[in-house]
Symmetry: C2
Subunit: 327 residues, 2 copies
């Protein structure tokens, strides 16, 4: 119920690496689906000794298609509904160049499903855990491609983590409702709200800003890496400017902690979602914990977004433009 179909992931990767030498893995999507692919790209960029990893918003991949695209490439695309036109087009371009195409979607027989070589159908609204399955499958594919090409010393730890993180993320989400209500009450009328994080969670901050805040709440927002906070954004810190810090357990925690210390020093309006408070460390092995933060951050902050929507009487599904007109 909570876990990924790792047999399917393994089988897809085995079949692809059985047929070709893989030198590059590129993740391609749009908006939240692009952001959900980032932890996998972060993992590969950080640990692969030979494999190359890349990450594109789909329309850039379509219009400025990389020179290396070909039979040694694997393109992994994602779209919840499977209809995002530029991501479907990315599948077509990748296939016609001879690349292997793996797609992640919630929707069987969607254009994305039909235009891929392999499709993994993932859960979504069934639970806070299944909402993270798109992100999880992208990471599982990265781990498996790495293991089946050049090998990875911490492979077993990553698999342990993948087998335990989802149910735990559901528990984390269930436990934060009270804090989420306090957050929502406090910031429902905020004129702007900033979001920051680091490491594998950097694009959870990004999607929280562009999707949950701008798209779903029509609230002004910006996002940045906590490591960048001191190189520009921190000059905006003032008593009435709210910041959300998605704080990581693992390697980049000192980067986040430095930003938090500054925010506290100047009494900034600060909301911290710290995976340590949700005991991520008791669930996944310490030497790979960095890569599992985004699954917890994303599950927990979904509850914060729901409460914000409730407090503002602005449903998360309300749109001005999307679903209403062609563009």
């Amino acid at each position: 119920m909570y876990n990924l179909d790792m047999e399917k992931v393994r089988a897809i990767v085995s079949e692809i690496v059985g047929k070709r030498t893989v030198d590059t893995i590129a993740y391609v999507g749009c908006g939240a689906s692009k952001a959900d692919l980032y932890p996998a790209k972060y993992f590969l960029t950080n640990v692969a000794k030979k494999l190359r990893a890349a990450h594109y918003t789909a329309n850039e991949f379509v219009n400025d298609t990389p020179d290396w695209l070909g039979e040694h490439s694997v393109i992994i695309t994602a779209s919840l509904g499977g209809t995002t036109p530029e991501t479907v087009k990315a599948n077509e371009i990748a296939k016609s160049a001879g690349a292997a195409v793996v797609s992640l979607t919630h929707t069987q027989d969607s254009p994305l499903d039909k235009s891929s070589d392999y499709t993994i159908l993932h859960g979504f609204g069934e639970s806070y855990a299944t909402m993270q399955h798109k992100m999880g499958y992208a990471l599982a594919l990265a781990v498996e491609f790495l293991q089946q090409t050049e090998g990875y010393g911490k492979y077993d730890h990553m698999i342990d983590g993948l087998n335990r993180v989802f149910e735990a993320s559901d528990r984390a989400a269930a436990s934060c409702r009270g804090q989420a209500k306090l957050f929502a009450e406090k910031y429902k009328d905020a004129p702007v709200i900033y979001v920051m994080s680091s490491g594998a969670s950097a694009e959870v901050a990004y999607s929280t800003s562009i999707c949950l805040m701008m798209e779903m709440q029509w609230m002004n927002s910006g996002s940045f890496h906590t490591g960048e906070f001191f190189h520009g954004p921190f000059e905006i810190v003032d008593k009435d400017v709210p910041f959300i810090l998605l704080m990581n357990d693992g390697k980049t925690r000192p980067v986040d902690a430095r930003a938090l210390t500054f925010l506290h020093r100047f009494d900034a309006l600060t909301t911290v979602v710290d995976t340590k408070d949700y005991s991520l460390g008791s669930v996944v092995p310490a030497d790979v914990i960095t890569y599992f933060n985004p699954i917890f951050h994303s599950a927990v902050f979904r509850v914060f977004a729901e409460e914000l929507a409730e407090a503002r009487r602005h449903p998360l599904s309300l749109r001005r433009y999307m679903w209403k007109l062609d563009y």
Copy 2:
């Protein structure tokens, strides 16, 4: 006066590739210096068939140092004053791992200069062109590493472009003062301002937002890729929300054009800085024009920022925190 010292770039690259097989080039910096390294990273990620390219904010590289770092890596770092502690630390980590370290700085004998294997001292405030030299040297190093390792079919065109783009960027900057004044008058009291671009200029949008707006003007701001505009941010479009579009000539122009069409359709407050209006195409070869957009965008928008500072009576050098306290 306007041009880079390409002999120096060539000599550094020759010496490095003469001593080791290079498999990975990583660019490391903070804030505007990180953003200035992005065009080089974009170029390599797009065209290299074998070389791997990466891009880090320095404190992430320091705390979550990649597993592959070693004698086959080249780390290229940048810091204008050469004192950014996390970038200096990145140099030390890279050197002790056996990597070759090339640093870009304006300041001789700075900690960054002293901790590198090779330093390129670049110009800065002498002209709008020299302000782009940090970005230019990062790109020139990418081109030269690519040529001297795996070769690059459009090498001569890139060199042509590098030899012509800087003087032209100075002319572009000189020609936009009138438009910049209109922009400044119109938006000096804006409560928030968004910036977007694509391709090699994606992080010019980012640094315009976090440095010129947030850091130097204490204005609320966010930035995103024009390809992502339709997957979240566009729901914030309303008659009173201003957008700056740094429009590219080259491969990603259709991505930018789609966003512009939408902004016009809904009468959004839109400022366009289009490199086509500044005749970038008459200066650099068409088949590599994509990579030269950020040099024009950055030179021209600097003038816009100066006029904004003037209209708001808020000098670009004013800070609340930077230079005033330790953090």
